[in-house]
């Protein structure tokens, strides 16, 4: 059954000619056709293109050429520009935008033989934690509470990517993480998701949300699958001035390292009041698994954690307010004509952007305004430096940190929509990694009382994704997470 395969298993099957890339791709396209109407995980499905990629992969395999991802069907978050394939960023304003160029990350995946199934749904311009803000409709989490069919959110902003992987509509997906947009949906959907160090993956060709925080990464069923995907996605790109000129290690090999002798930090500030006891319990259990495998558990302090979320919601909207100025109706966006230029801007942007995007543009414009800049943006940047210093100090004594990924399991669609602050609290554990640029991985570790998946987060030193993968794989092995979502493909 194709739907039972991990990426690693599918790669082995292709290599052993147990099935062809076309058969594999066909099975996933069938699954998408069957389930996407219910999940809405894809905004655009590209079956012809996928079969073309698959045919090329089969030809390569027949020649004995196997790249890292030859023949592996993936979903691409619709924030990555794909040459000749509509790229919407989940926004009405880019509804008809077909980029003439391929983002560096997706080009790297194609270079290594991947097959693109289509473009995954997301919160509009990646702004959201529920995938409710997409102009192309909400995504439904393939998981449901026991005895309750109420549709749940998959998390966000990479909700389409996470839901597609969880429902077995793709073997993996690209995602991006600005404040938790890879890790939180991975946690909500019971899969693994890795946000690498800022600069590890090129941002070139990814629709920008907050440039100093945005980072691409993979979501997949397993930690090792993520490691394999990241190996292809990562790498220095001269077209992105913030991309790191460093060699890309063999991340998959790091997954087999084990944790013996590692010092694992437990930040006391993450033990927030009101955390559900089952999340606290799972956290303790995770630490126990690591101790059993030979790691030393150490209590540590990250005193500025409590300012992370507040400063994030200054820095990210500030950058977004500037990054989104280009969607003005003049060039590639949809346009609402006006009597003059100002009216054209106002009508185009009023019609093209959703409420959450408008809210963040207004917050960002406000915090950068004359008279407020020092009090908000400048102070937030100072706090950001302190958050990084917290991590730098702590990583002198420990090799990685383990925390819960999110303060709750998936919630119902429509919940928390009336209170943006409550919605923003979803990111409380994930935001510090973006503010400091360090890598973070979410690993499915257990279920809550209602049968919904919960993830644990592993944080590591900048550019030490290898240790993060090693710890994540150790948690994954111990957790033996085998639960399945109620909605999933069986092909």
């Amino acid at each position: 059954m194709f739907s039972e395969l991990t990426l690693v298993a599918a790669r082995d099957g292709l290599r052993r000619k147990q099935f062809s890339a076309r058969e594999l791709t066909g099975a996933f396209l069938g699954a998408i056709e069957a389930l996407n109407p219910r999940l809405n995980a894809f905004i655009t499905v590209t079956p012809e293109l996928a079969l073309e990629h698959a045919a090329a992969a089969d030809a390569a395999l027949a020649r004995g050429e196997q790249g890292n991802l030859t023949g592996i069907p993936l979903a691409i978050k619709d924030l990555f520009c794909t040459a000749g394939v509509r790229t919407t960023a989940g926004s009405r304003i880019l509804e008809h935008f077909v980029p003439p160029y391929e983002s560096t990350v997706s080009a790297n995946l194609l270079r290594d033989g991947a097959v693109f199934l289509g473009k995954a749904n997301l919160d509009e311009f990646a702004m959201g934690s529920s995938n409710m803000t997409s102009a192309f409709g909400a995504v439904t989490n393939p998981w449901t509470r026991q005895g309750d069919n109420a549709p749940l959110v998959p998390g966000g902003s990479s909700g389409g990517s996470a839901a597609a992987v969880a429902a077995r509509l793709a073997l993996g997906a690209t995602a991006t993480d600005t404040g938790g947009s890879i890790r939180q949906p991975a946690s909500f959907c019971g899969i693994a998701g890795m946000k690498p160090t800022y600069g590890r993956c090129s941002r070139w060709g990814i629709v920008a949300f907050a440039s100093s925080l945005d980072q691409a990464g993979p979501v997949a069923r397993t930690v090792e699958d993520c490691a394999i995907l990241l190996t292809s996605m990562a790498g220095h790109d001269p077209k992105d001035s913030t991309s790191a000129d460093r060699p890309v290690p063999d991340f998959a090999a790091a997954c087999r390292r084990g944790v013996k002798g590692l010092r694992i930090g437990v930040p006391r500030e993450y033990r927030s009041e009101g955390m559900p006891p089952e999340i606290e319990a799972l956290w303790q259990q995770g630490l126990g698994w690591l101790r059993e495998q030979g790691a030393e558990i150490v209590d540590v302090s990250l005193p500025h954690t409590k300012y992370g979320l507040a400063t994030y919601y200054i820095v990210a909207p500030a950058e977004a307010s500037s990054n989104l100025a280009r969607y003005d109706g003049v060039r590639f966006t949809s346009r609402e004509d006006g009597a003059d230029l100002t009216e054209l801007y106002e009508k185009t942007r009023a019609a093209g952007f959703g409420a959450e995007v408008k809210r963040r543009i207004m917050i960002g414009t406000y915090v950068l305004s004359a008279g407020y800049y020092d009090a908000y943006y400048l102070r937030a940047q100072k706090v950001r430096a302190l958050i990084l210093k917290d991590f730098t100090d702590v990583f002198r004594g420990v090799d990685a940190l383990v925390t819960p990924t999110a303060p709750s399991a998936a919630f119902a669609q429509g919940e928390r929509m009336d209170d943006p602050i409550k919605m923003y609290l979803n990111d409380v554990f994930t935001v510090p990694a973006n503010m400091s640029g360090i890598p973070g991985l979410s690993v499915p570790a257990g279920l809550d009382a209602q049968g919904l998946p919960l993830g644990l987060q592993v944080l590591g030193r900048p550019f030490d994704e290898e240790t993060v993968f090693a710890v994540g794989a150790a948690l994954e092995r111990a957790a033996g997470f085998a639960a399945l979502p109620s909605m999933r493909a069986e092909v």
Partner: protein, 484 residues
Amino acid sequence: MATYTIEGATGSWEVVIGLEVHAQVISRSKLFSGAATDFGAEPNTQVSFVDAAFPGMLPVINRECVAQAVRTGLGLRAHINLVSRFDRKNYFYADLPAGYQISQYQHPIVGAGTIEIELADGSTKQIGVTRLHLEQDAGKSLHDQHPSKTFIDLNRAGVALMEIVSEPDLRSPEEAGAYLRKLRTILRYLGTCDGNMEEGSMRADVNVSVRKHGEPFRTRCEVKNVNSIRFVMQAIEAEAKRQIAVWEEGGTVDQETRLFDPGRGETRSMRSKEDAHDYRYFPDPDLLPLVLDEAWVAELQRGLPELPDEKRARLMREYGLPAYDSGVLVAEQAIADFYETLARGRDAKLAANWMMGDFFAALNRTGKTIETSPVSAAALGQLIDLISDNTINGRIAKEVFEAMVETGEEPGVIVERKGLRQVIDTGAIDAAVDAVLAANPDKLAEFKAGKEKLFGFFVGQVMKAMAGKGNPALVNEALKRKLA
């Protein structure tokens, strides 16, 4: 230099001027993209996805533009900041594709420097340069192509500009003009900007205020985008007079942005301080701080050409030229090069006189430049050689020069073809002298009676008889002998 003042009803007013010059960097490609920068290309043919601010596009700094800014900073004897930063200046306009201009707000690449200006009376003055920073140009909005639509040309969008800001050290339109000319000369020497104000590759914003002697600065107004030195000088005078009138009528000058209308010779309000944009500057997160290697800056320093001030001093020293001549000859590098080719191994002052006299006059008359001159430095040098070795005399030389301008021929060829070689055969000169004296017995008698002024008359008659080709010294000598 006498102080420039404007007389008002309440006394004399001093004018305070600062200039912000936008100089387009000479570089093959734009500041943050690989698109070309040629002037005059078909609209929207030199535009990359970065310039058009397509989704996901990112800026990458062009090393050559940075080098040009550093060279310019060094040429202005300015402090080079080894760490500088790019900021976003946010505002909406149809020809600004990203909705922000990448500029350097708080941390420019070049700090304080100076420009020495020379004034008409021969005095010099040091004008402070506050800073120089790099920024992107915007595109162009074309409002005259369609009755109801505006067309956008993005060829210029993203081209590198250097904004060079002066201290408020200038005190007259003349000083402002001298500053702009000197800055343009320096930029052209450095090869960092072509200084062509007509094509818009150099534009000036002029800050003007007025005050009574000894007062602190009063409120200034900024006159935007003035596109010639003459207009800058006119705009300063017009704006200063306007402000004086406002103050003297008991009003106050409001800080605002104004435009100069050369047709009417006046400035008018563009936007008041209240309407001023809030640019919401913040560091561009797509770019890392620009960190320069000290050794690289030193290498650029070593590669700088000799600059106008140094060249002027050297011409005075090496060629013994007066300050004025040297100043004229270094105004353009090509002129200075021409001069030095010409003067090498020749009478330096004679060479300078020829260039600044007949040669420049001929260029002016024919509408040619030093680069397109019909007379090369070598050819002009040959002409001077023909004077120095007595082949032709100075008067004939002017005739030969005009022929050179017209035909482009070498002077020796012209002299031979026209038979202009001067006569140094004393027998022929004596014969001409004898004939002139014989033909003018009355004048000869007057001369002998003491009217010595007539010597000049005889010289003229002899030269005329010899069709101007007589060697003036030999003619003089022969006459003196015969008349003794």
